[in-house]
Point group: C2
Amino acid sequence: MPVFLDTTQSDFETAFAELLSAKREDSPDVDDIVAKIIADVRARGDEAVLELTSKFDRLDLNPEGMRFTDAEIDAFCAQVPDAERAALEQAAERIRAYHVRQMPEDQLWTDADGATLGWRWTPVSAAGLYVPGGLASYPSSVLMNAIPAKVAGVERLAITVPTPDGAVNPLILLAAKIAGVDEVYRIGGAQAVAALAYGTQTIAPVDKITGPGNAFVAAAKRRVFGKVGIDMIAGPSEILVIADADNDPDWLALDLMSQAEHDESAQSLLITTDAAFGRAVAGAVDKRLETLERRAIAGASWRDFGAVITVRDLDEAAALSNRIAPEHLELCVADPDALSEKCTHAGAIFLGQWTPEAIGDYVGGPNHVLPTARSARFSSGLSVMDFVKRTTLAKMTPDALRAIGPAAETLAKSESLEAHGLSVTARLEKLNR
Amino acid sequence: MPVFLDTTQSDFETAFAELLSAKREDSPDVDDIVAKIIADVRARGDEAVLELTSKFDRLDLNPEGMRFTDAEIDAFCAQVPDAERAALEQAAERIRAYHVRQMPEDQLWTDADGATLGWRWTPVSAAGLYVPGGLASYPSSVLMNAIPAKVAGVERLAITVPTPDGAVNPLILLAAKIAGVDEVYRIGGAQAVAALAYGTQTIAPVDKITGPGNAFVAAAKRRVFGKVGIDMIAGPSEILVIADADNDPDWLALDLMSQAEHDESAQSLLITTDAAFGRAVAGAVDKRLETLERRAIAGASWRDFGAVITVRDLDEAAALSNRIAPEHLELCVADPDALSEKCTHAGAIFLGQWTPEAIGDYVGGPNHVLPTARSARFSSGLSVMDFVKRTTLAKMTPDALRAIGPAAETLAKSESLEAHGLSVTARLEKLNR
């Protein structure tokens, strides 16, 4: 049973605060192991990666076998049925069309003092994308990570995907091919992250690493951060549905379960203005949990972390939503656009009853890599911006230096940075001679 | 003596690689101490912060004394001489004018399938800015961190600045006031970072923490990352000057020293097309090092990490610059704009001989918080973007769902996520009834 809360109850604030602070993830502390793996890969390169792949993935490779050849990729791709291929292509096209609009623009202007100022965006040269193997090996995630990188103009995009016991998911390779990935390696774990960050004899180092992974991968990404850029460290998935009574309880039950089925630590929340409707949705969830393939996972998530919250009105719903800062926010109300304006902290908003969250996971267009664990308060989903960086530009004329140089001299002096000041003074002296 | 390299030398590649990989910073491992401090502040709040402030800053406060009152701030600000005040105000105005242009735009459009898509930017609600005390207490850094936050629309901006033995730098308070900072606390170290991230009885928690600091502050920022957002972890400063022979050696010597005087671990590099000019600059540096106030620091940096590299032509210079990915890049050549186009990895570029880097530290307009240690390969300087986040928007109509829903069903099935698929199927069934 999920918890049932009501903002009119006297103990609501306590119960809601408890819900917000509930620790859903219990990551094992693998930092020491990961530190050793990274040091080993830095010291021994391919040799270390191959030993670790043999140990963890039960797969013996030689250096030449680490990378999928084009022929291998084509052969696996040929196994994918037409329907899946068409779906991946449609998804890729829509994701690309969305992300193309994210390309930021350069600016350059000259101000009243005669200073020319601006900035220029350039792509990261090389990026690496970690793709999990096994159960959580999602071709949609390949599209969501690779397409923004390629739209940004990343020249070299490498994927690592473990193939435990040699098992390959052809859809991963097809998604990589559709997205324009340049290199695919059959390695995984912390050793793959280390290889991408520091390079080996076979794998050239990259500048940025993105993509989801288990505790080892997450710890490795944290450790190589600084040497390379990383995206966020993703936590378990979440959805918040805000709904009035004018909805089909079964639809919302399925929306809630589509996050719950990811992970026992996932969280599915419903906020509604109608207590009876909330109970109806909970009933529909129970019914679906009788037959869902992943009912064990979804049921545990719903039981341990699910909640149905009744509110007085939608303003109250928006206020609670902003405290939750959900990864996914579905607004199933009469005027979702108006409510959306009030929801300022959310990774992605799905407007109206015809927009189930699952559309956003696959083919909507926006990215499905989104901030979890309340981090939508300060961060955004993956985008083209993650694969570009800004160089600021400044160019003074003699007149501009005359106008603003003296302030720099004064401030340099106040900070006891004499050479800073003198570098301006020397030039101004020449001008005033 | 800095190293002198020449790309025509047979051992150049080895020597340059060594220069690139030189470990300039030897951060003490303070992680265990910092973990304890954070746990203590989380458990005991104000009490822990006050004890640690007494211990490390030799300053005994009660909870009410942690925050500067408006009257205190005004009294300190009144001590600032007019020239400094005017310089800070001019700098603030220019920094604000530059950063206002960085505000990203919302987008919303409807595509051919009838799906309405887009995104919306919103500010972080509350941000904290760490300001170091003592020697590296720079009012210019207050402006550079606080102004982008306020331009972004951050409602609550809090500063922490340690005041060892009670010593207050009035310029810090004036810069905070000019920038529109809302709260200033006289605390520092890991305990200040912990207080900002987790909150205490006196200090409300923030969503994002930026600003430079020592090893303890850096370790604390790493640890609270995830609970709050952080900016980069800054390393020692760097400058690369690319120059032809048509420059005043003394000007460039001062530009090189203006980074070297920051820190013994700073790095100042000169790339020139003319070996004799390179030697002339080195000579000018030696001369300045006889009299500079901070000659001990600047001299050590120049001796241990400085380099003068002679190249065949400017294309070679640009290629080396891109491998260095400098924090600051000064282009003192006949056509700096043309060379700038080829320099794709740099935090900030200063174009032409009238643009000493120090202008960018204070009054140019662009931010002086920039990526160090080669991280300009994948990251950007501080900007308004650090204080906003993006919410993606998607709204399907029945027609849009008909057009793209089936692809989502197919992909959900291929990923064994049944509820994802059913959430689309249930809606399509209604439409097809």
